[in-house]
């Protein structure tokens, strides 16, 4: 925080003339134009997918999706009914939740504790361990399948015996490096004065963690939850390897992938499937948006 305080002091000393009302109004309009403009361009591909999902297969290869927006309108709900009518849709939807929720909650919790330790506690080998953790982000997942799966089979951590437990543990292992890396970064940015004043007040480590650090890091934790949830919700390969694709355990990604035949027959269903699958992560994102607010930190030290 000291850099910014210095700069404010410098600015105060300079006392420049501030821009006038009209100039501010113009730059406000410019801002809106730029934001809306870029957003519009950005959503074109998604919009294309959305419109395509309402078109019949025969239209796909013969005309671009934008032609469907002008008459004659040849919309169809076939793609969506194809997706909704697929066998085991409800079951795999449920499975996806049963896989994703624990596989999000567990790593976020473990990472929060570990990240705090890495940021504010001193212990032997801390820097080396942290760097090693970051380095592990680079491990390609395919290289880990055989050794872990072999061990799982030997120990009996198969879907028949323990359901999704094996998958939760695997996703935790895979997700921890990024989670710790991200949270440690945010924890480290908290002002030292906070901890000093808490110590003066006699607060124990656990209290500081739960009453000060976590509430102030809500945007960071919200980000992490969004991404961890998202990656597991959209994961196909890891689930396929560790629990397989039988109807009892298949998550949504596997079920939707099976809509398309081995030669690509039925690929038009993927357009509707994409939107159907997208709903839940978007709901998670939208509902966590309220945690992205500024000013939680403001005034906390002076209080």
């Amino acid at each position: 925080m000291t850099i910014a305080s210095e700069q404010i002091a410098t600015r105060a000393a300079e006392r420049r003339f501030s821009p006038d009302w009209l100039g501010q109004g113009f730059s406000k309009v410019l801002l809106h134009v730029v934001v809306l403009g870029i957003t519009l361009v950005w959503i074109v591909p998604t919009l294309g997918l959305l419109v395509s999902s309402f078109r019949p297969l025969s239209a796909f290869a013969s005309s671009g999706w934008w032609t469907a927006l002008s008459p004659p309108f040849k919309f169809t709900l076939d793609n969506y009914s194809g997706v909704l009518g697929s066998s085991n849709l409800g079951g795999s939807f449920f499975n996806s939740f049963m896989i994703t929720i624990p596989a999000t909650v567990i790593p976020v919790t473990i990472a929060a504790f570990a990240a705090y330790a890495f940021s504010w506690m001193k212990f032997w080998g801390r820097d080396f361990l942290f760097l090693a953790l970051v380095g592990l982000l680079a491990v390609p997942l395919q290289a880990t399948f055989v050794p872990i799966l072999k061990l799982y089979v030997q120990v009996g951590l198969t879907p028949q015996n323990v359901g999704f437990v094996g998958l939760w543990l695997v996703h935790t292992g895979y997700g921890l490096p990024f989670a710790i890396y991200l949270l440690a970064n945010f924890f480290r940015a908290l002002p030292t004065d906070l901890f000093e004043s808490a110590e003066i007040d006699g607060a124990g480590t656990l209290t500081v963690f739960f009453r000060i650090v976590l509430p102030l890091s809500v945007p960071a934790i919200a980000s992490l939850v969004i991404f961890q949830f998202l990656w597991i919700w959209n994961d196909y390969l890891v689930a396929l390897v560790y629990v397989g694709s039988t109807p009892e355990v298949a998550p949504l990604t596997v079920t939707l992938a099976q809509l398309v035949g081995s030669l690509g027959q039925g690929y038009q269903l993927l357009t509707a499937a994409a939107f159907f699958s997208m709903i839940v992560p978007l709901i998670v994102f939208f509902s966590l948006q309220r945690y992205f607010v500024r000013g939680i930190l403001a005034g906390s030290v002076k209080g």
């Binding site: 072999k150 089979v153 390969l237 027959q265 039925g266």
Partner: protein
């Protein structure tokens, strides 16, 4: 701290967790067979329809898993020690590799009744599933390649005749070209497998032009890609594509970027964008789905690719769906035996899209005349050889497909492309 509350919650949840772990899925009475294959979507429905009578008759449950990445998944599960009992793969080369590594169960010493089997399957199909003299794979369904699809109405309108030999074939092509339209529609895009439709062209020409001995030595890696016979096949394909791919609608750009499923759509455009399209029999499904309102026979028909070399007349390339046994259980044995019966095969054939390699198969089971004629091409073929790409080692096949893309991009680079293939060949065939 509310420790007592915590402690009781802890106890309850630990018990709950133990109960959860203890309650696995219930075990079934007659047993289960796990099958892993590539079929999904409507194919999966067809395969499940095939399995239904089996479960009804024997009470054995079949747990079917499908994924596009069968090779990868199979390797992983075998290495980890939990393979499925039965695997169905479109690429017999993987199965052959697994056989030589000892991961497959031998079938001809008790599991399959070989007297009945030899009576129902021609030696070619049996040989295809044999590795080192032992039977490891059986074929349940087949497909024929080298079918040239055309729109009879367009042919009649222009007075074109179906060619009966190679010379007529080439002159028809030139005639169409002369009248201002591209004679051919070709499309090779197929995601990770892009290039395979072009490889079909080349292998059909190799077989028909140089004969089965060269063909067999070629896919076994004993004939080099730079061998004059193989090079000639590529050049022949080059004359069909035309210099700079000018005989094909849309040129190289369209060929490379269009999905094979849409390859034949140009036949039915008004005015037609092309007049002929080479593809296996499954493509009729795409024709009908992509261009609503067309019907087999009136709007599309086929003629087999004419013989390039009269010495090897009646040569055709085909492919098949193979099954192998990875874990020997009584239930899995029963399923394997079921899958080679004509009754089981008929269920899928009736739904369309597949042929049966079984000699006892009743032709009346084929859903329409076109499929029946295709089946006759297969059974009547004097020389019937398996899809070379499917039985080459996978790295060789992948290089083959990539070579097709490179050739379409620039035909003049053929020599470089072929030497590149030779390089891959020198290492791909080592076990």
């Amino acid at each position: 701290m509310r420790s007592s509350g915590f402690k009781s919650l802890l106890t309850v949840s630990v018990i709950a967790l133990l109960v959860t772990v203890a309650c696995g899925t219930g075990s079934s009475d007659k047993g289960t067979v796990h099958v892993l294959a590539v079929w999904a979507g409507s194919e999966e429905d067809s395969f499940k329809a095939v399995l239904a009578p089996f479960t009804q008759k024997t009470g054995i449950k079949v747990s079917y898993e499908s994924t596009r990445d069968v090779d990868a998944l199979l390797q992983t599960r075998i290495a980890a020690g939990n393979p499925p009992e039965i695997a169905g793969l479109p690429s017999p080369s993987t199965l052959s590799k697994l056989a030589s590594q000892g991961h497959l169960v031998q079938l001809d010493n008790g599991i399959i009744d070989m007297t009945k089997f030899s009576a129902q399957y021609s030696p070619g199909w049996i040989q295809q599933g044999t590795v080192n003299g032992k039977l490891y794979e059986v074929f349940s369904w087949a497909a024929v390649k080298g079918l040239i699809w055309y729109d009879p109405k367009n042919f009649t309108a222009k007075g074109y005749q179906v060619p009966t030999n190679w010379d007529e074939f080439i002159s028809l092509q030139n005639k169409i070209k002369g009248s201002g339209t591209t004679p051919w529609c070709v499309a090779v895009e197929s995601q990770a497998a892009s290039g395979w439709p072009g490889s079909d062209w080349v292998k059909e020409i190799v077989l028909s032009q140089s004969g089965p001995t060269v063909y067999d030595n070629w896919w076994q890696g004993k004939v080099r890609w730079t061998d004059p016979a193989i090079k000639q096949a590529w050049e022949t394909w080059g004359t069909i594509l035309g210099p700079g791919d000018s005989n094909v609608y849309g040129g190289k750009n369209y060929i490379l970027s269009t999905n094979f499923g849409n390859g034949g759509d140009g036949l039915f455009a008004n005015p037609p964008k092309c007049y002929m399209h080479n593809q296996a029999s499954f493509i009729t499904d795409n024709f009908v789905k992509n261009t609503p309102g067309i019907a087999p026979g009136t709007d599309f028909n086929f003629f087999p690719l004419p013989d390039v070399n009269p010495a090897y007349a009646g040569a055709h390339v085909g492919s098949g769906d193979a099954f192998s046994l990875l874990k020997d259980t009584p239930q899995a044995r029963q399923l394997m035996q079921y899958l080679v019966t004509p009754e089981a095969q008929a269920i899928w054939v009736k739904r369309g899209g597949k042929l049966s390699p079984n000699k006892n198969f009743d032709l009346a089971n084929y859903p329409d005349d076109i499929t029946r004629q295709v089946a006759k091409v297969m059974t009547g073929a004097k020389i019937f050889d398996f899809d070379a790409g499917d039985i080459m080692p996978t790295p060789m096949r992948d290089a083959y497909w990539s070579a097709v893309l490179a050739f379409i991009t620039d035909q003049s680079k053929l020599n470089t492309i072929l030497s590149g293939l030779d390089q891959v060949q020198s290492t791909a065939y080592k076990a």
